[in-house]
């Protein structure tokens, strides 16, 4: 999936796939925060969005 995103010209850093069980609340929170931080650093996505192009 990440390889394909790169091929299409998208940023693979915007994708995260992680296995989190229903009982792992803290892991879920950490995962969401981690991704949010990553995406915030990348800034808003302008690709594949009609209104910005």
């Amino acid at each position: 999936m990440t390889r394909m995103m790169e091929y299409i010209g998208l940023d693979p850093d915007r994708l995260m796939v992680k296995w989190v069980s229903g009982s792992e609340a803290q892991k879920f929170v950490d995962t969401v925060e981690e991704l949010t931080e990553k995406v915030r650093a990348l800034g808003p996505n302008r690709k594949l969005r009609e209104h910005y192009e």
Partner: protein, 296 residues
């Protein structure tokens, strides 16, 4: 080639007369020298229509998915690419092997009628080989009950991922611009989906209205999503027959998408070509504890 046409007619007639099959699918001659279209024959006297020439390029495997052909005993003429399509369909349990009588035709590499028209060629000899045939690695049928003529030599020196490698070298933004430009041309006519022997769902995700996975509106962005979804849906089932690219009226380089996924599959799961062997399952339909987990 004419010799094979003769053999084809004789064989088809025999099969229909003896009642071995109820239907024969082959090619017939159209109005122009470059038009050879698929034909479905039910009666022995109609077998005179059958031909085999430079333009019998259509992959016939797709017609097996038609409801009326699924329940009948059908004889099918298969080139290398057609036979791989049939193997894939048998593996997916779309058709039953015992309902099929496959007549193999070794393929010398055929010509694209579109090239013949656009190049204003006057006869078949001048028309260059079709792109999909230039890239073909397996011109001989892989699965057949009987073969007409003798097998042709299989090319060895073709790098099927050359185009993909070339494109991968570009920067992210260049690649995005390239694919955006391609998606811009797409008419969303669904010809690529309809001709594909790997697309076998009776109800396609793109036709589904609840939920509507893809907008009906034909816009660049929606087209980009369309092609991304399509490439994933045929990922490890693509037999690289190149029919999608051949029928595309807008000339989109669709094989560059299909081959990208195949290249990744080859790198991650080892050498793989779809539809070569009835016993080999496509890597994405099975699970192994040793499977790579690149981004998990």
């Amino acid at each position: 080639m004419n010799e094979i046409t003769g053999l084809m007619r004789k064989k088809a007639k025999e099969l229909l007369e003896k009642g071995v099959v109820e239907r024969v699918i082959g090619w017939e001659k159209g109005m122009f020298f470059y038009s050879t279209t698929p034909v479905v024959i039910d009666k022995p006297e109609e077998t005179e229509k059958l031909v085999w020439d430079d333009f019998a390029i259509n992959n016939l495997a797709i017609y097996l998915l038609d409801k009326q052909n699924k329940e009948k005993k059908v004889a099918l003429f298969v080139k290398g690419c057609d036979s791989r399509g049939v193997v894939r369909m048998i593996q997916d349990k779309q058709v039953k092997r015992e309902n099929l009588y496959l007549i193999g035709v070794p393929c010398p590499g055929l010509k694209d009628p579109k090239t013949a028209v656009r190049g204003y060629y006057k006869d078949a000899g001048q028309v260059p080989k079709a792109k999909k045939c230039q890239e073909c690695l397996h011109p001989n049928p892989v699965l057949y009950d009987e073969m007409l003529g003798s097998p042709v030599e299989e090319p060895q020196q073709i790098d099927r991922f050359a185009e993909v490698r070339e494109l991968e070298k570009k920067s992210t933004d260049e690649k995005y611009a390239y694919w955006k430009e391609q998606a811009d041309k797409c008419l969303r006519c669904f010809a690529c989906r309809n001709i594909c022997p790997a697309c076998s769902c009776p109800e396609c995700i793109f036709d589904c209205s609840k939920p509507r996975w893809l907008d009906k509106e034909v816009s660049t962005v929606q087209n980009q999503f369309f092609h991304m979804i399509r490439m994933w849906h045929v990922a490890d089932r693509c037999i690289e027959c190149g029919e999608c690219e051949r029928v595309c009226p807008a000339g989109l380089p669709l094989m560059q998408l299909n081959r990208k996924l195949l290249k990744d599959i080859n790198e991650l799961f080892g050498p793989y070509e779809a539809g070569m062997d009835l016993e080999q399952r496509p890597p994405l339909t099975q699970y192994d504890t040793g499977d790579p987990e690149e981004f998990m």
